[in-house]
Symmetry: C5
Subunit: 364 residues, 5 copies
């Protein structure tokens, strides 16, 4: 579970940052991102829906103002020109675009003049560790623009619901689409939490069976992931709370009602992660007591052995002494007919009484 | 107390959840629920009361508007059609109905257009562990609709009070009925807390008598249950606080007064559970010091034995040496008349002085 | 200090509670209370004062409205009829009366129509443990009604001040009387805290001199009492804060000023108890380090003994071997003239150098 | 650092208190104070200043209303008559005067009709321990009255600034004088914190060099002082915050600006003390790991000695056996020419290989 | 990492302070600062920019009011006359100037009449430890004045951006310049956090490989630096929050938008430092369990050795006894033909069965 090179203390905790002193709003490709970006445009009204994948953003100019809702989803954050072009077409604020291109952002919701800008983190538990994928969303009057780094298309389920015309999605405007997307991200935390719970379960089983140093490293690893989790879930809860509470012209009242539900889920995910943290520290307690127990067990064995054999060895040593047997008082036992048998009788009686005492003390 | 398969870290902490991306308001049978639902309808005014158990919800249509108060209690959450039908008859919001069918919800109180929707968790300590049963309640102008999963009918005591016409219940409207139900749920926490207190008591006794690994597992188990408890009691307190504080047209002022009482109980239950948590961590301290004590005891025995017999064994070894006694300076003690007796005198004096020293040090 | 049967984890933490489902406002005798109640009535104005002890509450009817202030103090909570009668005479709310008869209530102040209702807990440190006695108080325009369970009369000092006509008490109305009573209860915490501080002091002394398991049980006991203390002092502070802050027609401004003083005392009592909790957990640290120290000491003795005598025993064993001395190379030392003296010289030199080394290491 | 009789757990934590039931506003000499009080009166305007030391408070009557500002500083809290006389002259509230005469008060600022009343604690680190001296201050339109218990005159530096006419002090009214006094008290915390920091430093050094039980007692002592510190600094910060924030007729806006500075200092002192608390608990961690290390070291020595000499002693024991050498298979080694040398060769090889193994394990 | 003389507990935690009683607004050279100060004046408009380094502040008089923005950056805090002169020219408040000359201030933002005054701390990780450099900033209508102690010029990157005319900096007024400077300081925390993360990483690696006392000292050192970090980052976050939230005439709305971004970064830096603190305490846990493990390992070796050789030594001792073999029952084994071989057979069988048992127990 612990891979040496990926296990940096700050990994996942520290966001990418630009050199201090860089002018704000300077756009540059997100760290680690390369290659061209994909741009998937979904235009829909109550009666029709069109999904197109474009590479040239200039086709976007004609779109706005035709009464339909346009959702532009960009996958890949290396094509700065595309991001700038989208910024111009939809009047997105440069500071927000800078945040889009800086990974590891804290979830937040911020109103700009005509748009509402949200950043959230999509959590997934893959390849034995927690991964977070940054999703940025701009909500305007008749459009939604979303960005994600190169990876699997996170929002495919939403697109499927749009094309299949299921539910309220096609009828309720851009705000409801934004809700659907954010709801997906919030709910994605639950399978991740479940996986993390299973991991804690496995560690606990390991500790109860046979505690070793590896368990403690896995536990430390899980605690680190819980820190990352909290760092994401705490502000995410706040984002949903703000969207559910604060009135905004782009967010009609009936959509705000749905965000209330979303907020509940965010709170619950956060609570579960906090409880996992308590459980993780409980596991450490089990671990330490378990080590203490084992030490006690080891020491009992040592003490029993010593207590039994030290007096006996002394006795054997006594009868191995070379006192001059010419003197009548020197070691007369050695000459007795049943001396040797007597020695064994004493030895066996000694062992038996010791063992009986230890059993009474509960050491056996 | 610890059964292997039921003891999953996340058990009771994580709520059931739908696959991320599922459209909101999609109703499906609650996890683990099967079979038909029971529906018990109580219609009452000041002077009359009727209790009927129906299976066909269509009979409900005729009920509303006859000036009496109708309370529909549904047991079992697998019959989605019934839930939907009730939703239509009483205009319940689809998001709320989705919550009804998802178990493990966080307690909450939410106003929808014409109804007030509450979710609470009924706590009970059965078969050595804490169980929570989700109870959902819709309060309307002249009706109350409640849902619980398949289990014993939780609300039978309320129905009994209604049919026996005791107290204010028959005279004070739907809001008071809702209060009576929620009050029952809040007060159910006290017997559960008492049982948990007994469990902690048993663990403490075990630890003080003879600490073993099983105690620590039981303690961990109890701490987990306290986490679940807190997860329920904390928001439940908030729910009662809101109902006592916030004005709502469905909740007349004199009923709000009763909720203040209910809020006090919820606060008290929460405080007790927080104190139990502190006590549980105090038990861990006792446990660890107890282990330390035992280790000290074991080591003292070992040290006493070694300190007594190691020098004596050395002495016996000395007189077992084979130096050539032809040389007058080699081991003359062996030829002395009282050599052997002298050896024993030294040995016994050594043992005695050691024991005296240990007694003075307080090791005996 | 620890008596087996009284030392239940939940003792003092959990309030008495009625069976869930009991209709609110159902009056029944408080748990553990029996026998008749005493009722002491003090009627006073600026110029006269009368103290009477009645058993029949019907005499109360004529009292109200004569321009004097009436203080009814009831000792004993088993006489439900008396409580109900008082409720009728002074128009006390049934929910409040139910709280009066349920012991272990959380301190609170609640306005009802014409009365202000307070519950506080009188703390006292008696027979080696902290006891709390519930005092309920109703403040009306011209009356004060107080209740306490059967025990010593807690409010005798106030009655003495009234009859002796000292201070402002006779001139300032019912609100000031209520203040005097609550101030007495708040200040009672200080002697109790002092006693608890002495107890912690005794435990500390015990731990520093010779830590044993009993100390830790006493400490656990004290921590439990600190939990009870906090459970009382925290809401009591809030009660005083509300009375000092919130305007109420029964509480004139100049009396509110006095409650500000009372609030200060409540805050201070709470702070002291919080600091005691920190000190108690500091004692646990001392205890654990002390155990560790002792283990180290024990192990040093064992190690010193073993290190000194194991090599010597080996040497004695060597010269006890029976190699055939016909062969010239076999154990020639045994035939040397000063062999035995040499052996002792080596042994003593070994012991001395070991001891010197241990002294240098600081183990002696 | 630890003196037996002064080291009571509650010392410095619990305030003095009057017997519960004492009427409020009852003045009695402060605990531990005896002898006559000094009264130093400074009267000043922009152009003149007069310092007089009076014993008879009746001379105060003529003072008020001459357009100058009068500062009365009382040292010693046993002369109740003087305090009452001052109360009459300057219309000070009896409740406030009671607080003046009760030592160990929580810092607070309270407005009374025409005066502003503050209590603060002057901290000093003297004779190896933290001392707090209670300073009470009444601010009126044209006067300031201050009280301190018998000790060095705390406010001499302010009087010096007044007589030397330095700075703004002579020109800015009574509010600025009050600021100067409170600022002095707030800043006095910094040298005390520095001394406490030095003490922690000394403890740390002691622990790192050679941890013994005394260090832990000193540490416990320092933690106790940090508790006292927090108990003072936390409300003191609040006092300054209120004075800087809340408008009051006696406190002109430009003086409030100075209190903002004072508030900053109070916050900083509090933060430093909180950080010291974290450091103190860090020292405990170092201490415990240090003990653990030493135990490990001791046990390694024991184990190395045992592992080396137990097998060798066994071997020596074998060749000390008395099997009948007539039988050719019994112990032929004893008759070999190089038997004894072989024994030593085996012994030395055994020791060497053991030591080599221990070195590889890092135990040496 | 730990240098003796620089490692004072309070170092970096306690601010410099003046003697209590010093009149406020008394200017004196900052502690540790000597020599002349540098003063770099940048005057710019949209079209031109001039950078001059002056030593005589009187040249500043002619500057104000020419429609350009003037930024005066002072390096070195020993030249009190210069600071006073600047105070006169730009009407800076004496209390603020006193703060400028007192190092170790808590970050804060305070409005004075015509200026906005901020203090922040520039963090850098140099020579194995965290350093903070105090930067003070006055923002006026058409000027910015900044101060830093003698060190590398922290604000060179801003001056470069100004002279190169990049970005919005030349066009957006003094408020934007202040933003650029504060943003630089906030972002400087990230490289420092990264370095601290690397340090924690190194400590963790050390602990996992071979825990020794030095690791724990380094860890303690890192925890101390995290305390300093928190002491800076917490109020810095607040400063940015105030600037982003509160309206101020010197701070136009579009600049406030940029401060929102700055606030986000400050929050993130704080969160990372809090998580580092949790990780540091997790490292302590690893360390302690690791010590426990090692102790267990050592004790197992000791116990195995003792358990194997003590019984064998006893057996060898038995056959080294000198019972008189004339008596037929005394030690007949010694005379058996295969006695010696039998002894070895028993010994080897004993060792083998012991080892097998230990392997089964998992001790090998």
């Amino acid at each position: 579970m612990v891979e040496d090179d990926s296990w940096v203390p700050g990994a996942g905790l520290l966001k990418d940052y630009q050199d201090p002193g860089t002018p704000p709003g300077t756009l540059s490709a997100a760290e680690g991102e390369t290659g061209p970006s994909r741009m998937i445009v979904v235009s829909y009204g109550a009666d029709d829906v069109a999904v197109r994948e474009w590479t040239d953003p200039s086709a976007l100019d004609g779109l706005r103002g035709d009464g339909r809702i346009h959702w532009v989803h960009v996958i890949g954050l290396a094509d700065v020109a595309l991001v700038e072009r989208l910024g111009t077409v939809f009047s997105l604020h440069p500071l927000a675009l800078e945040d889009v291109l800086t990974l590891g952002q804290r979830p937040k919701a911020e109103p700009f003049d005509d748009t509402l800008f949200c950043i959230v983190q999509y959590l997934a538990y893959r390849r034995q560790s927690l991964e977070k994928t940054q999703l940025s969303l701009f909500l305007g009057a008749e459009f939604v623009v979303t960005f994600q780094p190169r990876a699997d298309d996170l929002l495919a389920p939403i697109r499927d619901r749009l094309t299949q015309g299921r539910g309220r999605l096609r009828h309720k405007g851009a705000g409801y689409l934004a809700y659907a997307i954010l709801d997906l991200v919030v709910d994605a935390a639950f399978p991740a939490l479940e996986a993390l719970g299973d991991q804690l379960d496995a560690i606990e089983e390991g500790i109860l069976e046979k505690p070793d140093q590896e368990d403690i490293e896995n536990l430390q690893c899980a605690r680190r992931e819980l820190l990352v989790l909290r760092q994401v879930l705490w502000p995410q809860r706040e984002v949903m709370g703000r969207l559910a509470r604060e009135e905004h012209e782009l967010m009609p009242d009936d959509v705000r009602l749905y965000f209330r539900d979303c907020y509940d889920h965010a709170v619950q995910a956060l609570e579960v992660s906090e409880n996992f943290r308590e459980m993780a520290s409980g596991l450490l307690d089990i671990y330490l007591t378990s080590l203490s127990h084992r030490l006690n067990d080891v020491m009992k064995v040592l003490t029993i052995i010593s207590t039994v054999f030290m007096p006996l060895s002394f006795l054997a040593g006594v009868y191995g002494m070379n006192f001059d047997r010419q003197q009548p008082l020197n070691m007369p036992e050695l000459g007795w007919r049943y001396g040797y048998l007597g020695f064994w009788a004493v030895a066996i009686a000694g062992i038996a009484s010791m063992l009986w005492m230890f059993r009474r003390k509960g050491w056996l």
